[in-house]
Amino acid sequence: MKISADQIREIIYESINEINSFFNKDKQLGIKEETVLYGQDSRLDSLGLVNLIVEVEQRLTDKLNLNIDLTDEKALSQNQSPFLTVKSLCDYIYNHQNQQTPE
Protein backbone atom coordinates (compact mmCIF):
# COMPACT_ATOMS: atom_id res chain seq x y z
CA MET A 1 0.00 0.00 0.00
CA LYS A 2 1.27 3.42 -0.89
CA ILE A 3 2.15 5.63 2.02
CA SER A 4 0.80 9.17 1.86
CA ALA A 5 2.85 12.32 2.13
CA ASP A 6 0.84 13.19 5.26
CA GLN A 7 1.96 10.00 6.99
CA ILE A 8 5.58 10.70 6.10
CA ARG A 9 5.34 14.29 7.29
CA GLU A 10 3.84 13.08 10.57
CA ILE A 11 6.81 10.72 11.05
CA ILE A 12 9.23 13.60 10.44
CA TYR A 13 7.36 15.79 12.95
CA GLU A 14 7.43 13.02 15.59
CA SER A 15 11.17 12.61 15.03
CA ILE A 16 11.72 16.36 15.39
CA ASN A 17 9.77 16.30 18.66
CA GLU A 18 11.96 13.47 19.90
CA ILE A 19 15.17 15.34 18.99
CA ASN A 20 13.80 18.60 20.47
CA SER A 21 13.27 16.92 23.84
CA PHE A 22 17.07 16.64 24.21
CA PHE A 23 17.85 20.24 23.27
CA ASN A 24 17.51 23.64 24.90
CA LYS A 25 14.67 25.88 23.71
CA ASP A 26 16.95 28.03 21.50
CA LYS A 27 18.08 24.98 19.53
CA GLN A 28 14.64 23.51 18.91
CA LEU A 29 13.28 22.94 15.43
CA GLY A 30 9.84 24.17 14.42
CA ILE A 31 7.09 21.70 13.49
CA LYS A 32 6.36 23.00 10.01
CA GLU A 33 7.15 22.22 6.41
CA GLU A 34 9.48 25.16 5.88
CA THR A 35 11.69 24.30 8.86
CA VAL A 36 15.29 24.27 7.71
CA LEU A 37 16.94 20.97 8.65
CA TYR A 38 20.41 21.46 7.30
CA GLY A 39 21.07 24.60 5.31
CA GLN A 40 21.25 28.34 5.82
CA ASP A 41 20.50 29.34 9.45
CA SER A 42 19.91 25.72 10.44
CA ARG A 43 19.75 24.96 14.14
CA LEU A 44 21.05 21.43 13.73
CA ASP A 45 24.72 20.55 13.74
CA SER A 46 26.18 17.43 12.13
CA LEU A 47 25.34 15.19 15.12
CA GLY A 48 21.83 16.64 15.36
CA LEU A 49 21.26 15.96 11.67
CA VAL A 50 22.53 12.39 11.91
CA ASN A 51 20.34 11.73 14.98
CA LEU A 52 17.27 13.13 13.23
CA ILE A 53 17.88 10.96 10.16
CA VAL A 54 18.26 7.84 12.34
CA GLU A 55 15.00 8.68 14.17
CA VAL A 56 13.12 9.14 10.89
CA GLU A 57 14.50 5.88 9.46
CA GLN A 58 13.59 3.91 12.59
CA ARG A 59 10.03 5.31 12.67
CA LEU A 60 9.49 4.63 8.96
CA THR A 61 10.45 1.00 9.61
CA ASP A 62 8.55 0.56 12.89
CA LYS A 63 5.35 2.39 12.00
CA LEU A 64 5.02 2.24 8.23
CA ASN A 65 7.10 -0.84 7.49
CA LEU A 66 9.15 1.20 5.04
CA ASN A 67 12.85 0.38 4.96
CA ILE A 68 14.83 3.22 3.48
CA ASP A 69 18.44 4.25 3.79
CA LEU A 70 18.31 8.03 3.82
CA THR A 71 22.06 8.48 3.59
CA ASP A 72 22.86 6.11 0.76
CA GLU A 73 24.74 7.28 -2.28
CA LYS A 74 21.47 8.05 -4.07
CA ALA A 75 20.31 10.43 -1.34
CA LEU A 76 23.66 12.18 -1.08
CA SER A 77 24.13 12.59 -4.82
CA GLN A 78 20.77 14.28 -5.53
CA ASN A 79 21.03 17.58 -7.34
CA GLN A 80 18.95 19.11 -4.61
CA SER A 81 19.85 17.91 -1.13
CA PRO A 82 16.91 16.08 0.58
CA PHE A 83 17.99 17.48 3.94
CA LEU A 84 17.42 21.18 3.30
CA THR A 85 13.92 21.38 4.80
CA VAL A 86 11.15 19.20 6.21
CA LYS A 87 9.39 19.50 2.84
CA SER A 88 12.39 18.41 0.78
CA LEU A 89 12.92 15.38 3.04
CA CYS A 90 9.23 14.46 2.87
CA ASP A 91 9.25 14.76 -0.94
CA TYR A 92 12.37 12.65 -1.20
CA ILE A 93 10.91 9.82 0.92
CA TYR A 94 7.56 10.00 -0.91
CA ASN A 95 9.20 9.80 -4.35
CA HIS A 96 11.62 7.14 -3.19
CA GLN A 97 8.85 4.68 -2.25
CA ASN A 98 7.23 5.23 -5.64
CA GLN A 99 10.39 4.10 -7.32
CA GLN A 100 10.66 0.91 -5.29
CA THR A 101 9.27 -2.24 -6.84
CA PRO A 102 6.24 -3.41 -4.84
CA GLU A 103 6.83 -6.50 -2.77
Binding site: S21, F22, Y38, G39, Q40, D41, S42, D45, S46, L47, L49, V50, N51, I53, V54, Q58, T71, D72, E73, L76, S77, Q80, S81, F83, L84
Partner: protein, 447 residues
Protein backbone atom coordinates in the same frame (compact mmCIF):
# COMPACT_ATOMS: atom_id res chain seq x y z
CA UNK B 1 65.65 30.29 20.06
CA UNK B 2 63.79 27.45 18.36
CA UNK B 3 61.39 29.87 16.68
CA UNK B 4 63.99 32.09 15.07
CA UNK B 5 63.06 30.84 11.58
CA UNK B 6 59.48 31.99 12.17
CA UNK B 7 60.32 35.34 13.77
CA UNK B 8 62.70 36.11 10.93
CA UNK B 9 59.80 35.60 8.50
CA UNK B 10 57.64 37.90 10.64
CA UNK B 11 60.27 40.67 10.52
CA UNK B 12 60.47 40.46 6.72
CA UNK B 13 56.76 41.10 6.18
CA UNK B 14 55.67 43.44 9.02
CA UNK B 15 52.67 44.90 7.19
CA UNK B 16 51.28 41.72 5.69
CA UNK B 17 48.01 40.23 7.01
CA UNK B 18 48.79 37.48 9.53
CA UNK B 19 45.41 36.76 11.17
CA UNK B 20 41.79 37.57 10.56
CA UNK B 21 39.93 37.37 13.86
CA UNK B 22 36.40 38.61 14.63
CA UNK B 23 36.36 40.53 11.35
CA UNK B 24 39.59 42.39 12.16
CA UNK B 25 42.84 41.95 10.36
CA UNK B 26 46.13 41.78 12.33
CA UNK B 27 49.53 42.29 10.72
CA UNK B 28 52.64 40.20 11.30
CA UNK B 29 54.15 43.13 13.15
CA UNK B 30 51.22 43.29 15.58
CA UNK B 31 51.54 39.56 16.30
CA UNK B 32 55.25 40.03 16.97
CA UNK B 33 54.43 42.92 19.34
CA UNK B 34 51.89 40.75 21.16
CA UNK B 35 54.47 37.97 21.37
CA UNK B 36 57.15 40.21 22.91
CA UNK B 37 54.68 41.65 25.46
CA UNK B 38 53.37 38.26 26.53
CA UNK B 39 56.88 36.86 26.89
CA UNK B 40 57.68 39.71 29.29
CA UNK B 41 54.41 39.23 31.16
CA UNK B 42 54.96 35.48 31.59
CA UNK B 43 58.57 35.84 32.76
CA UNK B 44 58.48 39.03 34.83
CA UNK B 45 54.98 38.98 36.32
CA UNK B 46 54.44 35.26 36.77
CA UNK B 47 57.93 33.77 36.89
CA UNK B 48 57.21 31.18 34.21
CA UNK B 49 60.46 29.62 33.13
CA UNK B 50 62.02 26.99 30.89
CA UNK B 51 60.62 23.48 31.49
CA UNK B 52 57.43 24.69 33.19
CA UNK B 53 54.26 22.91 32.08
CA UNK B 54 51.69 25.51 30.96
CA UNK B 55 48.15 24.79 29.80
CA UNK B 56 46.93 27.34 27.25
CA UNK B 57 43.19 27.75 26.80
CA UNK B 58 42.07 29.60 23.71
CA UNK B 59 41.54 29.55 19.98
CA UNK B 60 43.32 30.88 16.90
CA UNK B 61 43.12 34.48 18.07
CA UNK B 62 46.04 36.92 17.84
CA UNK B 63 46.71 36.87 21.61
CA UNK B 64 46.46 33.11 21.87
CA UNK B 65 48.74 32.47 18.90
CA UNK B 66 51.22 34.99 20.36
CA UNK B 67 51.02 33.24 23.75
CA UNK B 68 51.68 29.86 22.15
CA UNK B 69 54.71 31.27 20.34
CA UNK B 70 55.98 32.99 23.50
CA UNK B 71 55.77 29.78 25.58
CA UNK B 72 57.50 27.87 22.77
CA UNK B 73 60.30 30.43 22.63
CA UNK B 74 60.63 30.18 26.43
CA UNK B 75 61.08 26.37 26.09
CA UNK B 76 58.02 25.56 28.17
CA UNK B 77 55.95 22.40 27.86
CA UNK B 78 52.64 23.56 26.38
CA UNK B 79 49.22 21.95 26.72
CA UNK B 80 46.88 23.58 24.17
CA UNK B 81 43.23 23.39 25.25
CA UNK B 82 40.10 24.45 23.42
CA UNK B 83 38.29 27.03 25.50
CA UNK B 84 34.93 25.99 24.09
CA UNK B 85 35.00 22.40 25.32
CA UNK B 86 34.79 22.33 29.09
CA UNK B 87 34.66 18.51 29.23
CA UNK B 88 37.74 16.77 30.49
CA UNK B 89 39.42 20.12 31.10
CA UNK B 90 40.17 19.39 34.74
CA UNK B 91 41.51 15.92 34.10
CA UNK B 92 43.63 17.15 31.19
CA UNK B 93 45.19 19.79 33.44
CA UNK B 94 45.87 17.15 36.09
CA UNK B 95 47.23 14.46 33.75
CA UNK B 96 49.62 16.91 32.09
CA UNK B 97 50.77 18.15 35.55
CA UNK B 98 50.23 21.72 34.37
CA UNK B 99 51.86 24.24 36.72
CA UNK B 100 50.19 27.23 35.05
CA UNK B 101 46.82 27.63 33.37
CA UNK B 102 46.81 30.53 30.93
CA UNK B 103 43.48 31.55 29.51
CA UNK B 104 42.93 33.93 26.63
CA UNK B 105 39.33 34.99 27.10
CA UNK B 106 36.80 36.24 24.56
CA UNK B 107 38.02 39.83 25.05
CA UNK B 108 41.57 38.70 24.27
CA UNK B 109 42.67 39.32 27.88
CA UNK B 110 45.33 37.03 29.30
CA UNK B 111 44.53 35.43 32.64
CA UNK B 112 47.32 33.44 34.30
CA UNK B 113 46.75 31.10 37.23
CA UNK B 114 49.32 29.06 39.09
CA UNK B 115 48.13 25.57 40.05
CA UNK B 116 49.41 23.75 43.13
CA UNK B 117 51.08 21.14 40.96
CA UNK B 118 54.82 20.61 40.65
CA UNK B 119 55.47 18.79 37.37
CA UNK B 120 57.47 15.73 38.39
CA UNK B 121 57.14 13.29 35.49
CA UNK B 122 60.72 12.25 34.73
CA UNK B 123 59.98 12.29 30.99
CA UNK B 124 59.92 16.09 31.18
CA UNK B 125 63.64 15.93 32.11
CA UNK B 126 64.48 14.82 28.54
CA UNK B 127 63.19 18.15 27.28
CA UNK B 128 64.64 20.20 30.13
CA UNK B 129 68.13 18.80 29.67
CA UNK B 130 68.07 19.60 25.94
CA UNK B 131 66.48 22.99 26.55
CA UNK B 132 63.70 22.12 24.11
CA UNK B 133 60.04 23.17 24.24
CA UNK B 134 57.44 20.40 24.62
CA UNK B 135 53.89 19.90 23.47
CA UNK B 136 51.25 17.73 25.14
CA UNK B 137 48.29 16.70 22.97
CA UNK B 138 45.30 14.62 23.99
CA UNK B 139 43.33 11.93 22.24
CA UNK B 140 40.60 9.56 23.44
CA UNK B 141 41.85 6.79 25.68
CA UNK B 142 40.50 3.25 25.71
CA UNK B 143 38.96 3.66 29.16
CA UNK B 144 37.55 7.14 28.81
CA UNK B 145 40.55 8.79 30.47
CA UNK B 146 42.11 11.05 27.84
CA UNK B 147 45.47 9.87 26.52
CA UNK B 148 48.28 12.42 26.83
CA UNK B 149 51.06 12.36 24.22
CA UNK B 150 54.29 14.24 24.94
CA UNK B 151 56.18 15.69 21.97
CA UNK B 152 59.56 17.34 21.63
CA UNK B 153 58.14 20.47 19.94
CA UNK B 154 61.36 21.20 18.03
CA UNK B 155 60.91 17.97 16.03
CA UNK B 156 57.38 18.94 14.99
CA UNK B 157 58.52 22.43 14.01
CA UNK B 158 61.37 21.18 11.84
CA UNK B 159 59.22 20.67 8.74
CA UNK B 160 58.04 24.29 8.73
CA UNK B 161 61.59 25.46 7.95
CA UNK B 162 61.05 24.26 4.37
CA UNK B 163 59.41 27.03 2.38
CA UNK B 164 56.08 26.38 0.68
CA UNK B 165 53.47 28.54 -0.98
CA UNK B 166 51.82 31.18 1.21
CA UNK B 167 48.07 30.68 1.34
CA UNK B 168 45.16 32.58 2.81
CA UNK B 169 43.96 29.71 4.94
CA UNK B 170 40.77 28.90 6.82
CA UNK B 171 41.90 27.62 10.23
CA UNK B 172 39.04 25.11 10.49
CA UNK B 173 40.68 22.34 12.54
CA UNK B 174 40.88 22.84 16.30
CA UNK B 175 43.46 24.62 18.48
CA UNK B 176 43.87 21.59 20.75
CA UNK B 177 44.54 19.20 17.84
CA UNK B 178 47.76 18.94 15.87
CA UNK B 179 45.72 19.28 12.66
CA UNK B 180 44.77 22.83 13.67
CA UNK B 181 48.25 23.78 14.90
CA UNK B 182 49.77 22.25 11.77
CA UNK B 183 47.56 24.51 9.63
CA UNK B 184 48.56 27.52 11.73
CA UNK B 185 52.33 26.93 11.63
CA UNK B 186 52.20 26.00 7.93
CA UNK B 187 50.45 29.28 7.16
CA UNK B 188 52.52 31.62 9.36
CA UNK B 189 55.90 30.14 8.46
CA UNK B 190 55.25 30.91 4.80
CA UNK B 191 53.85 34.39 5.31
CA UNK B 192 50.25 33.40 4.59
CA UNK B 193 47.10 34.60 6.36
CA UNK B 194 45.12 32.67 8.98
CA UNK B 195 41.38 33.18 8.77
CA UNK B 196 39.98 32.16 12.17
CA UNK B 197 36.43 30.95 12.67
CA UNK B 198 33.94 31.56 15.45
CA UNK B 199 31.44 29.25 13.88
CA UNK B 200 32.20 26.16 11.83
CA UNK B 201 28.88 25.74 10.03
CA UNK B 202 29.10 25.40 6.23
CA UNK B 203 27.40 28.75 5.63
CA UNK B 204 29.74 30.65 7.92
CA UNK B 205 32.84 28.93 6.53
CA UNK B 206 31.75 29.68 2.94
CA UNK B 207 30.97 33.28 3.93
CA UNK B 208 34.51 33.67 5.31
CA UNK B 209 36.03 32.14 2.17
CA UNK B 210 34.12 34.64 0.04
CA UNK B 211 34.82 37.66 2.25
CA UNK B 212 38.53 37.04 2.77
CA UNK B 213 39.31 35.27 -0.53
CA UNK B 214 40.61 32.11 1.14
CA UNK B 215 42.72 29.81 -1.01
CA UNK B 216 43.29 26.82 1.26
CA UNK B 217 40.60 24.95 3.19
CA UNK B 218 41.89 22.12 5.42
CA UNK B 219 38.87 20.27 6.83
CA UNK B 220 37.44 16.85 7.70
CA UNK B 221 35.39 14.61 5.37
CA UNK B 222 32.39 15.16 7.69
CA UNK B 223 32.54 18.89 7.03
CA UNK B 224 32.71 18.26 3.29
CA UNK B 225 29.60 16.04 3.51
CA UNK B 226 27.80 18.81 5.38
CA UNK B 227 28.96 21.35 2.82
CA UNK B 228 27.31 19.25 0.11
CA UNK B 229 24.12 18.55 2.10
CA UNK B 230 23.64 22.19 3.11
CA UNK B 231 24.30 23.39 -0.47
CA UNK B 232 26.12 26.35 1.10
CA UNK B 233 28.58 26.31 -1.82
CA UNK B 234 25.73 27.52 -4.07
CA UNK B 235 25.18 30.63 -1.95
CA UNK B 236 28.70 32.06 -1.95
CA UNK B 237 31.47 32.90 -4.39
CA UNK B 238 34.20 30.33 -3.68
CA UNK B 239 36.33 31.06 -6.74
CA UNK B 240 39.36 32.00 -4.62
CA UNK B 241 39.73 28.38 -3.39
CA UNK B 242 42.77 26.56 -4.74
CA UNK B 243 43.18 23.59 -2.40
CA UNK B 244 40.82 21.63 -0.17
CA UNK B 245 42.70 19.21 2.07
CA UNK B 246 41.00 16.55 4.13
CA UNK B 247 42.09 14.03 6.74
CA UNK B 248 41.28 12.72 10.23
CA UNK B 249 38.87 9.99 9.03
CA UNK B 250 38.28 7.88 5.93
CA UNK B 251 36.74 9.75 3.00
CA UNK B 252 33.65 8.31 1.26
CA UNK B 253 34.38 7.91 -2.46
CA UNK B 254 30.99 9.40 -3.44
CA UNK B 255 31.74 12.62 -1.51
CA UNK B 256 35.11 12.95 -3.21
CA UNK B 257 33.60 12.46 -6.68
CA UNK B 258 30.85 15.00 -6.07
CA UNK B 259 33.37 17.54 -4.74
CA UNK B 260 35.58 17.03 -7.77
CA UNK B 261 32.62 17.80 -10.05
CA UNK B 262 31.52 20.87 -8.05
CA UNK B 263 35.04 22.29 -7.71
CA UNK B 264 36.74 21.25 -10.98
CA UNK B 265 39.64 23.69 -10.62
CA UNK B 266 40.33 23.01 -6.92
CA UNK B 267 43.01 20.54 -5.92
CA UNK B 268 41.65 17.95 -3.48
CA UNK B 269 44.41 16.72 -1.25
CA UNK B 270 44.31 13.95 1.32
CA UNK B 271 46.47 14.28 4.42
CA UNK B 272 47.28 11.63 6.96
CA UNK B 273 48.01 12.64 10.50
CA UNK B 274 48.14 11.08 13.92
CA UNK B 275 48.73 12.72 17.24
CA UNK B 276 51.71 10.38 17.81
CA UNK B 277 53.64 11.16 14.62
CA UNK B 278 52.41 14.48 13.21
CA UNK B 279 50.92 15.14 9.77
CA UNK B 280 52.33 13.59 6.61
CA UNK B 281 51.78 15.21 3.28
CA UNK B 282 50.48 12.81 0.67
CA UNK B 283 50.26 12.67 -3.10
CA UNK B 284 46.92 11.51 -4.49
CA UNK B 285 46.85 9.44 -7.69
CA UNK B 286 44.29 11.89 -9.08
CA UNK B 287 41.80 14.47 -7.80
CA UNK B 288 39.04 11.93 -7.27
CA UNK B 289 41.16 9.01 -6.12
CA UNK B 290 41.55 7.76 -2.57
CA UNK B 291 44.87 6.11 -3.44
CA UNK B 292 47.79 8.09 -2.02
CA UNK B 293 51.55 7.99 -1.76
CA UNK B 294 52.60 8.38 1.88
CA UNK B 295 55.92 9.21 3.48
CA UNK B 296 58.83 11.48 2.54
CA UNK B 297 59.87 14.46 4.68
CA UNK B 298 61.08 12.39 7.62
CA UNK B 299 58.42 9.68 7.43
CA UNK B 300 58.91 6.02 6.53
CA UNK B 301 56.09 3.54 6.07
CA UNK B 302 55.77 -0.23 6.17
CA UNK B 303 52.83 -2.64 6.16
CA UNK B 304 52.65 -5.72 8.38
CA UNK B 305 49.55 -7.96 8.30
CA UNK B 306 47.77 -5.28 6.22
CA UNK B 307 48.32 -2.81 9.05
CA UNK B 308 50.16 0.46 8.46
CA UNK B 309 53.23 1.24 10.57
CA UNK B 310 55.08 4.54 10.46
CA UNK B 311 58.52 5.66 11.54
CA UNK B 312 58.74 9.38 11.94
CA UNK B 313 61.40 11.85 12.98
CA UNK B 314 58.67 13.72 14.84
CA UNK B 315 57.33 10.79 16.89
CA UNK B 316 56.25 11.46 20.46
CA UNK B 317 58.59 10.94 23.39
CA UNK B 318 55.91 8.87 25.17
CA UNK B 319 52.37 8.84 26.47
CA UNK B 320 52.23 10.28 29.98
CA UNK B 321 49.51 7.87 31.11
CA UNK B 322 49.27 4.94 28.66
CA UNK B 323 51.59 2.14 27.51
CA UNK B 324 53.58 2.63 24.31
CA UNK B 325 52.13 1.80 20.89
CA UNK B 326 55.55 1.65 19.24
CA UNK B 327 57.43 -1.49 18.21
CA UNK B 328 60.83 -2.09 19.79
CA UNK B 329 62.51 -0.75 16.67
CA UNK B 330 60.55 2.50 16.86
CA UNK B 331 57.67 2.00 14.39
CA UNK B 332 54.29 3.38 15.39
CA UNK B 333 51.48 0.84 15.04
CA UNK B 334 48.73 3.03 13.57
CA UNK B 335 45.94 0.46 13.88
CA UNK B 336 44.85 1.50 10.38
CA UNK B 337 44.20 -1.25 7.88
CA UNK B 338 45.49 -0.42 4.39
CA UNK B 339 45.48 -1.78 0.85
CA UNK B 340 48.59 -1.30 -1.24
CA UNK B 341 49.13 -0.96 -4.96
CA UNK B 342 52.82 -0.47 -5.76
CA UNK B 343 53.79 2.67 -3.89
CA UNK B 344 50.18 3.77 -3.36
CA UNK B 345 48.09 3.18 -0.24
CA UNK B 346 44.39 3.20 0.40
CA UNK B 347 43.46 3.80 4.05
CA UNK B 348 40.57 1.55 5.05
CA UNK B 349 40.34 2.69 8.67
CA UNK B 350 40.74 1.26 12.11
CA UNK B 351 40.70 -2.47 12.58
CA UNK B 352 39.84 -2.04 16.20
CA UNK B 353 36.55 -1.59 17.98
CA UNK B 354 37.26 2.14 18.07
CA UNK B 355 34.46 4.19 16.46
CA UNK B 356 35.41 7.31 14.48
CA UNK B 357 32.57 9.84 14.58
CA UNK B 358 33.47 12.77 12.38
CA UNK B 359 37.13 12.46 13.37
CA UNK B 360 36.42 12.08 17.10
CA UNK B 361 37.32 8.70 18.60
CA UNK B 362 34.90 6.70 20.71
CA UNK B 363 35.79 3.57 22.66
CA UNK B 364 32.78 1.25 23.15
CA UNK B 365 33.84 0.24 26.66
CA UNK B 366 33.41 3.76 28.00
CA UNK B 367 29.90 4.18 26.58
CA UNK B 368 28.88 0.68 27.71
CA UNK B 369 29.91 1.34 31.29
CA UNK B 370 27.89 4.57 31.40
CA UNK B 371 24.76 2.83 30.04
CA UNK B 372 25.12 -0.06 32.46
CA UNK B 373 24.83 2.34 35.38
CA UNK B 374 21.11 2.52 34.62
CA UNK B 375 18.57 0.31 36.31
CA UNK B 376 16.84 -2.10 33.96
CA UNK B 377 19.87 -2.53 31.68
CA UNK B 378 21.25 -6.08 31.97
CA UNK B 379 23.74 -5.90 29.15
CA UNK B 380 24.85 -3.32 26.60
CA UNK B 381 26.96 -3.74 23.51
CA UNK B 382 28.21 -0.59 21.79
CA UNK B 383 29.48 -0.69 18.21
CA UNK B 384 29.93 1.57 15.22
CA UNK B 385 27.79 1.56 12.13
CA UNK B 386 29.04 3.23 9.00
CA UNK B 387 27.33 6.49 8.15
CA UNK B 388 28.10 8.53 5.06
CA UNK B 389 27.83 11.87 6.87
CA UNK B 390 29.99 11.43 9.96
CA UNK B 391 31.86 8.29 8.86
CA UNK B 392 30.36 6.26 11.70
CA UNK B 393 27.61 6.54 14.25
CA UNK B 394 27.51 5.03 17.73
CA UNK B 395 24.92 2.25 18.15
CA UNK B 396 24.00 0.13 21.13
CA UNK B 397 22.18 -3.16 21.58
CA UNK B 398 20.46 -3.39 24.95
CA UNK B 399 19.27 -6.42 26.91
CA UNK B 400 16.79 -5.48 29.61
CA UNK B 401 16.78 -7.14 33.00
CA UNK B 402 13.06 -6.82 33.63
CA UNK B 403 9.85 -5.84 31.87
CA UNK B 404 10.24 -2.15 31.12
CA UNK B 405 8.67 0.45 28.90
CA UNK B 406 11.25 0.42 26.11
CA UNK B 407 10.44 3.88 24.83
CA UNK B 408 10.92 5.28 28.31
CA UNK B 409 14.17 3.38 28.80
CA UNK B 410 15.45 4.61 25.43
CA UNK B 411 14.86 8.21 26.51
CA UNK B 412 16.48 7.53 29.86
CA UNK B 413 19.56 6.07 28.19
CA UNK B 414 19.85 9.08 25.86
CA UNK B 415 19.44 11.59 28.68
CA UNK B 416 21.92 9.75 30.90
CA UNK B 417 24.51 9.58 28.12
CA UNK B 418 24.02 13.27 27.24
CA UNK B 419 24.72 14.15 30.91
CA UNK B 420 27.75 11.91 31.25
CA UNK B 421 29.47 11.86 27.86
CA UNK B 422 30.62 14.21 25.14
CA UNK B 423 27.88 14.54 22.53
CA UNK B 424 29.64 12.57 19.80
CA UNK B 425 29.77 9.56 22.16
CA UNK B 426 26.00 9.45 22.74
CA UNK B 427 24.43 6.53 20.81
CA UNK B 428 22.35 7.64 17.82
CA UNK B 429 20.74 4.21 17.52
CA UNK B 430 19.41 2.23 20.48
CA UNK B 431 18.10 -1.27 19.78
CA UNK B 432 16.59 -3.80 22.17
CA UNK B 433 17.54 -7.45 21.76
CA UNK B 434 16.88 -10.71 23.60
CA UNK B 435 20.53 -11.56 24.04
CA UNK B 436 23.85 -10.03 23.16
CA UNK B 437 25.89 -12.10 20.73
CA UNK B 438 28.78 -13.91 22.37
CA UNK B 439 31.66 -15.53 20.56
CA UNK B 440 32.91 -18.92 21.69
CA UNK B 441 35.60 -17.16 23.69
CA UNK B 442 32.84 -15.57 25.75
CA UNK B 443 33.76 -12.16 24.59
CA UNK B 444 31.17 -9.77 23.34
CA UNK B 445 31.09 -9.81 19.59
CA UNK B 446 32.50 -6.61 18.10
CA UNK B 447 31.94 -7.35 14.41
Amino acid sequence: MHLEFLLEEFRKIPDKDAIVWNNRVYSYDSIRGHFENLKKLFVLDYGIKQGNVAALKGDFSPACIAALLALTEMNCIIVPLNFKSQEDLKSKIEISEAEFVIEINAEEKTVVQRTNTKAANNKFEILKSKNHPGLILFSSGTTGIPKAALHDFTLLLEKFKTKRKAFRTINFLMFDHWGGLNTMFGTLSNGGTIISLNDRTPDNVCGMIEKYKAQLLPVSPTFLNLLLISEAYKRYDLNSLEVISYGTEPMPESTLKKLASIFPSVKLQQTYGLIEIGVMSTKSKSNNSLWVKLGGDGFETRVRNNMLEIKSRSSIICYLNYPSQFTNDGWFMTGDEVETDGEYFRILGRKTDLINVGGEKVYPAEVESVIKELEGVAEARVYGESNPITGSIVCVDICVSEEVDKHELKNKIKKHCINKLQRYKVPAKIKFTESIGMTNRFKKKTN
